[in-house]
């Protein structure tokens, strides 16, 4: 057995109400590692032959919660959530911070595979090898904070009653969905700790479709044995020392970007990306620090950076609203993108989104889209059930977010996410609204624009990514560039926080992998064979797609139309991305990853990687 793994996975069939243990061979674990990589492998093996007919929101879909060998060891614990995505119809490795992954490994499992669907709301309770599917009718409908409070109390009482000698039980780790997930909203997140979200992919909707409200895990064992404990300790220290030196990053987290990315790199979404620049010093991170942060350093298991902060609105109209920072992405998507420029309104919006169990990025994207349609008179106050959706009106946006979470009125359409909503509204109104949809392959683009070319994504990054608009998995050249999705796939498969990697040697994560597992892995080998396989699998499933939508790379390997409009303001005013440049870069990228000129993985690429069955399945697309 490879070191660093607990050695088994738990499979739960909610239809049959049964459990079984699943093991993967050392070869599979060596090739696909864990998390995102293993998710792609599991999904391809089990659903690949019928991929196009599998409804992401039906019982056939699998919902995966996977750790990686580095989870718990590499500072900054995370868990990877995956399955067939109801946003892209492909596979997204969506990770979320917290103790869940560590707790799961301490319970003896490397991951949980959820199949089928429950008849009525349930939650899963795991205490080491004691497994239980429990009734969740009393928490169905509750928001994030209520769900967390009730489940924390209930599970601790359960543990106390069953193991009375132990003393005080620490709480179990919990992943849950809010009302949005229950209502199968495609922008719903699988969430943890009130404000942490696995948002990309829309797996909250998958969890809701299975009527699985939450998973609570208490593991009492140690983390698995590692190959070289002294080596792991030394590397942990190196990662921490590096983080401790980064004062700005620790003090402000990604929040400093709220002003930076807006004012300096000019790549922040403002009013649904109509602009990417603002110079609102009211939105500087120092304002957040002074006005709303009640805890300066907040983090997850083992994290030296603790880039999260705890924010509470202390007075005024939104008094009592609680969330984390908000981080840069939500400062942008629940702030500037909606024309909101004060910390208090931003915290209020984020807390509403947290409570409903929505993804702040995807929901902020669809809210901005709706507001632009309102601005242009395409959606009227009547269409919006009386909501006057004006830029900067936090209460109006919060009201619409609630409609989305509960699928009421226009919310039922917007709950489908920006792309699907654009199709429906276009049909309804007889107007092409796709020019206002800032998404790629069903996934709203993260809050880092490409037009100024001063931010990290390249002009082809979103167009070519196997995870669409996901800003945490961007296509970049060379393929071993630190921003490349082939490198990101390592962090998402080892399953730890990528933010603790900044500033470190790029081989450190592979040394860390070796110290934990005992397996030698070079960056070159990772990129050329292992990551390459994962990316091809993800690409294949993304292109096979279905059942409601399919992507044609000739049309959909493309930036949102808005990204071809000249920047209207700021230091890069007038700057335009030329389509010919994007096409040229795309061709170069296709060649590097072994796709044909239409973007379909070539036979020779797939066969060289041993993916003959994928090659066969893609024949129909060629």
């Amino acid at each position: 057995m490879i070191r660093g793994y607990a050695g088994k996975f738990l499979e739960v069939d909610l239809s049959a109400k049964s459990f079984k243990e699943v093991k993967f061979s050392d070869e599979v674990l060596k090739d696909y590692v864990g998390g995102r990589g293993l998710a792609a492998k599991i999904l391809w093996d089990r659903l690949g032959s019928k991929w196009e007919t599998v409804d992401p929101l039906g019982p056939e879909n699998l919902l995966l919660f996977l750790t990686g060998p580095l989870t718990g060891f590499f500072p900054g614990g995370r868990i990877c959530v995956s399955g067939k995505s109801p946003q892209s119809n492909g596979v997204v490795g969506s990770t979320v911070g917290g103790e869940f992954g560590v707790e799961l490994k301490c319970a003896g499992y490397d991951g949980i595979i959820v199949a089928g669907e429950a008849e009525k709301p349930v939650y899963l309770f795991v205490k080491d090898s004691d497994l239980e599917i429990r009734d969740a009718s009393h928490i169905w409908g509750l928001d994030a904070k209520q769900t967390t409070a009730v489940l924390t109390r209930e599970c601790r009482e359960l543990l106390k009653a069953r193991y009375p000698q132990k003393g005080e039980w620490k709480e179990p780790s919990i992943l849950y969905i809010g009302p949005a997930g229950e209502n199968k909203v495609r922008t719903a997140a699988v969430a943890a700790k009130w404000s942490h979200a696995a948002g990309y992919g829309g797996y909250g909707a998958v969890m809701g479709s299975k009527r699985l409200k939450a998973i609570a895990v208490k593991g009492t064992g140690p983390l698995p044995e590692v190959a070289d404990l002294e080596g792991v300790k030394t590397l942990m220290q190196e990662v921490c020392n590096n983080a401790y030196e980064s004062e700005l990053w620790r003090r402000w987290g990604t929040g400093s970007a709220g002003y930076e990315v807006g004012a300096r790199t000019s790549s922040e979404p403002v009013r649904n990306w109509q602009e990417e620049w603002h110079d609102e010093r009211s939105f500087g991170v120092n304002e957040f620090e002074n006005r709303v942060w009640v805890k300066q350093y907040w983090g997850d298991f083992g994290c030296p950076t603790t880039c999260l902060k705890l924010a509470v609105v202390r007075s005024g109209r939104f008094k009592g609203a609680i969330t984390d920072n908000p981080d840069y992405e939500l400062q942008a998507y629940l702030g500037t993108n909606l024309g909101i420029f004060t910390p208090e309104e931003n915290v209020f919006m984020a807390s509403v989104i947290d409570d409903l169990g929505l993804c702040g990025i995807q929901t902020g994207n669809v809210l901005g889209f709706a507001a632009e349609l309102f601005q242009r008179g395409i959606l009227t106050k009547e269409d919006l059930d009386g909501i006057e959706l004006k830029w900067g009106d936090a209460e109006a946006f919060a009201a619409l977010a609630k409609k989305i979470a509960y699928r009421e009125g226009i919310g039922n359409i917007l709950a489908e996410g920006t792309y699907r909503a654009a199709l429906k509204i276009g049909e309804m109104k007889g107007v092409d609204v796709m020019p206002y949809a800032v998404q790629v392959k069903g996934i709203g683009v993260g809050a880092h624009g490409i037009r100024s070319e001063k931010d990290y994504p390249e002009i082809y990054s979103y167009a070519c990514s196997v995870q669409g608009g996901d800003h945490t998995s961007t296509a970049c050249m060379p393929l071993d560039d630190f921003r490349s999705e082939l490198m990101m796939a390592f962090h998402d498969s080892g399953v730890y926080c990528y933010f603790n990697v900044f500033g470190l040697s790029r081989t450190l994560v592979f040394n860390f992998y070796k110290a934990v597992t005992g397996i030698e892995l070079t960056k070159e080998d990772w990129v050329a064979t292992k990551a390459m396989k994962i990316i091809q699998l993800q690409r294949a499933m993304l292109l096979l797609g279905g059942p409601d939508l399919k992507w044609n790379p000739e049309i959909h390997d493309e930036n949102p139309p808005r990204f071809y409009e000249p920047l209207p303001s700021g230091p890069y005013k007038g700057k335009v991305i030329e389509r010919t440049r994007v096409a040229e870069e795309k061709r170069r990228y296709y060649e590097l990853v072994g796709w044909d000129e239409r973007g379909i993985p070539k036979s020779e690429t797939l066969r060289r990687l041993g993916l003959d069955d994928v090659d066969k399945a893609l024949e129909k697309l060629r």
Binding site: C106, T148, E168, K170, G219, G221, P222, K233, P304, L310
Partner: protein
């Protein structure tokens, strides 16, 4: 050679600053168990509501009620450090020390049915080192004085409710 009398230490704690990074659990279990084992850590971070994480560990009450309560004399006070020392060969895991502790701080080792209590790592607490290194400064070593350390021995619920009010505001306790 004038030898200064060795002063006892105490771990001062500023719970509201805890980031929830749980490095103290990692350091404690690495030191005592030679592996990362949060449930076997002598210092445990509770999170009865997100954002109000805090470390829960022995306060070294001046009258050591846990030592008094032990029916088999498995607990004693170290002369060198003032910490409570568990003789795990004698401990029967009856839990009487947990009930005697005003903060219900001792807990059973997940394997082996023996009680766990902070032993100050023999005078060089590892948890403090990592907390200081990260500049969170929740934990700090101070000389032990003649104070009512028992005030610090409080149950996780009591601490969580108070911290929730401090951090979230007047009705914060409802989140616990």
């Amino acid at each position: 050679m004038a030898s200064e009398e060795k002063r006892l230490i105490w771990i001062a704690r500023d719970l509201s600053k805890c980031s929830g990074c749980r490095k103290c659990e990692v350091a404690c279990s690495l030191f005592h168990e030679k592996c990362i084992w949060p449930e076997a850590s002598r210092i445990r971070v509770f999170m009865l509501a997100p954002g109000i994480e805090f470390p829960h560990f022995c306060a070294q009450c001046e009258d050591y009620p846990c030592v008094e309560a032990c029916p088999v004399n498995a607990l004693s006070v170290s002369k060198e450090t003032g910490a409570v020392i568990v003789d795990s060969n004698t401990c029967i895991g009856c839990g009487k020390c947990i009930d005697a502790c005003p903060g219900r701080i001792p807990h059973l080792h997940p394997k082996g049915n023996k009680i766990l209590i902070c032993d100050l790592c023999g005078g060089d607490p590892q948890c403090v080192k990592v907390c200081q290194e990260g500049l969170w400064n929740v934990l700090r070593i101070v000389p032990k004085g003649n104070y009512s350390y028992k005030l610090y021995a409080r149950t996780p619920e009591e601490i969580a409710r108070d911290l929730a009010v401090k951090i979230f505001g007047e009705d914060g306790a409802r989140y616990v």
